[in-house]
Symmetry: C2
Subunit: 426 residues, 2 copies
């Protein structure tokens, strides 16, 4: 009987971050009644299963209204399709309406969720072991995970309360170069980051674009939470400021529509020049990588998302007013609950201006042992911030999510957390 040795499998299988996430899921499974301030998934009562059919029908209607023959409509849903997908025009239009991003439809690649967009961009850009990527730290585990699958080194750039400092990015890029490696890109979440909740200030946004040009970096901008600000003031996404084509934009419909489609996209409008002088679009070059990972994104899933875009006049911002109100109310409930239940001046938290997350700093070791005790004895789950650091860090910090709960649950969850921390400190 063949038995495989776990330690001989690839390091991405035995990734400690994945093990941590598994531990979190296991705890959640063992204590199903606990309130989860850990789950960052979107609230799922905005849609019904019947909507899938409705949006599918809207997309088919859109194709037929253009006079596309029935055989081609059938192929668009049932056959293999174009590697980069069939929603390029629709997504480009949405990006213009919602984000003031103007890019050609051909620069859009539809992906099997934003996760695949990350791995495709990373694969295309990093050719040699000396090609590394920088990432704001604390960093979304999906990004570091994608890099790990490909064996690409991620060099952390510490984030401040105002987000990344462009001068720190420049310093790290130079250090990387001085060590004989090549920094190819910087990964950053521009609005209400997961896990920190931090957003980039307008000055930082402009500064990062300049730094990318000065240091010959691309920026991988991820913006899954951008719609969900606490108010209607908006900072421009990096891609909308990107006159020098330094930004590859990574897009998700998981929060703005629903996760079950598993449709995301990337925008790569950079010009690629070959040694022979041939010019092409980076999105077209990356299509080879996409074809070797998933061939193309499920046309059925694409059709559902296409139907949503048609139905909302290409403005997810206007289509999401109900969700925006819900998440605003939840984040306000979280911040109010923190005020209500924590009075110890040694315990602090940040005040994100939107999104699903906030971070609590407390003089307790926020490790897996404490998490297990929290779930068992206090009925509340949260995420140790240490999960989001590459080389240590976050040992006394907690990520709190508020996306999948009611306001009452949030308040009760924070009350329980305060009781836990008070007991540990007493």
């Amino acid at each position: 009987m063949a038995e495989l040795v776990r330690e001989e499998l690839h390091s991405s299988v035995t990734d400690p971050v994945a093990a941590s996430m598994n531990f979190l899921n296991e705890i959640a499974g063992r204590f199903p009644a606990a309130i989860s301030l850990a789950a960052g998934r979107p609230f799922d009562e905005f849609y019904a299963v019947e909507d899938v059919e409705r949006y599918l029908a809207a997309y088919l209607g859109h194709l037929r209204a253009q006079g596309i023959p029935e055989a081609r409509v059938r192929q668009a849903i049932l056959q293999y399709g174009r590697t980069n997908g069939q929603l390029g025009t629709m997504i480009a239009r949405m990006l213009e309406v919602d984000e003031d991003i103007r890019v050609p439809a051909e620069s859009v690649m539809v992906t099997s969720g934003c996760q695949e967009a990350m791995i495709i961009a990373l694969r295309g850009l990093c050719a040699h072991p000396r090609d590394v990527v920088l990432a704001a730290e604390p960093c979304y585990v999906g990004f570091t995970g994608a890099a790990r699958v490909l064996g690409i080194t991620v060099v952390p750039v510490p984030e401040t309360a105002q987000g990344l400092r462009p001068e720190t990015v420049a310093r790290v890029a130079r250090e990387v170069r001085a060590s004989g490696r090549r920094p190819r890109a910087l990964y950053v979440v521009s609005n209400f980051a997961n896990p920190s909740g931090v957003s980039l200030s307008a000055d930082v946004r402009r500064g990062l674009i300049e730094t990318a040009a000065d240091e010959d970096l691309l920026i991988l901008e991820d913006d899954p939470y951008g719609l969900f600000g606490l108010d209607d003031r908006r900072s421009p996404v990096l891609k909308s400021l990107d006159t020098g084509q330094r930004v590859i934009y990574l897009g998700s419909f998981a929060k703005s529509v629903f996760p079950g489609a598993r449709v995301g996209f990337l925008v790569a409008d950079q010009t690629v020049v070959s040694a022979a002088g041939h010019r092409s679009l980076l999105a077209d070059e990356l299509s080879t990588v996409k074809s070797m990972i998933t061939v193309n994104t499920s046309p059925i899933a694409q059709a559902v998302i296409g139907g949503v875009l048609v139905s909302c006049g290409y403005s997810l911002r206007s289509a999401n007013q109900e969700k925006i109100a819900f998440y605003r109310s939840n984040l306000r409930a979280l911040l109010a609950a923190l005020e209500r239940h924590f009075s110890d001046p040694a315990i602090t938290w940040n005040s994100p201006s939107g999104g699903f997350f906030a971070v609590l700093d407390a003089p307790v070791r926020a490790d897996e042992k404490l998490l297990e005790r929290s779930a068992r004895d206090y009925g509340v789950l949260w995420t140790p911030m240490s999960f989001f650091y590459l080389d240590g860090g976050g040992s006394h910090a907690i990520r709190l999510s508020c996306s999948a709960l009611t306001a009452d649950q949030i308040d009760e969850g924070v009350r329980r957390l305060a009781a836990l921390i008070a007991d540990v400190r007493s």
Copy 2:
């Protein structure tokens, strides 16, 4: 303005096989009236777009019939889901009914098409640069492409008219070991391979299982065409003979249902043992890799395939009788057309016992130049077999596909090809 240098992108972007495939697509685009004996896609008139809705409804009905509460049904379609997917039980049942494979549902991972199954299996198994995989050559380009994305070396094992010879596999495995590398797995298409059309004899199947044990290899068995034999005689798939758990089975619904779902799967029932003695299932270990590539497979797409499986009583073989008859008739038409239009004894072809492909050997250089001439002057497309060899080979051979044409088109296509070759030889 940022410009990227093409030669500094990853080698998978500039993969010569991808360039060849692009060339083929470009030729097809330039000569749309040409008959394509190149396209290996499934014929797409067996399904209508309305079937998507119907199967989705069948899956929802199945969930509700089990008493699953509506909120959970909604989550099953619209939320993130289990990394390894929700069709494990259904697929395990189908494998038992159709293929006499008995595996636990937990050993099944649902993937975003079979392509993702390949890349996940490769990633999990190959940890170090010295870990390589063997593959029957000529080899499906999707497999070599997946390996290229990960930088994994593929060592070819030459195929004969009877498929792989186990003793050749053993010899190559030993040579690889002698060179300081570790052969982790062998990739093979058991039935009616793409591109060669070749199937493994019953003896070879048993021999490969033995060789895998002797040489400490796993076998990655890919079987997308297994349903489509010329008659009802069936050879057991390797996985059904796999008492020693040497086989990871890679599954596709692209031909047995339709490609637009982009749902595939892998079966990895191997035991993994950690240094600490903890035992787990390989499918569970690989879920970490899956989570870093696409998080999970679109639940909407899974639901459509689930609805198909429920509707056919878990037998794709019985559900596919119409398709089976169609592809049989097409392959017979191809073999008859070859008999009819080629009388030169210097020109030979094989006679596959099923599937979508046959190979013609002719004393002409079957390169891109000839292909362009063929499309322009003779109105027929085909695939140079050289695309399927890693280090040269197939220079005078042509892959002929018969899956997406009518019998009349097949005959006319082969007539045109014969005229081309006659002119080149005269």
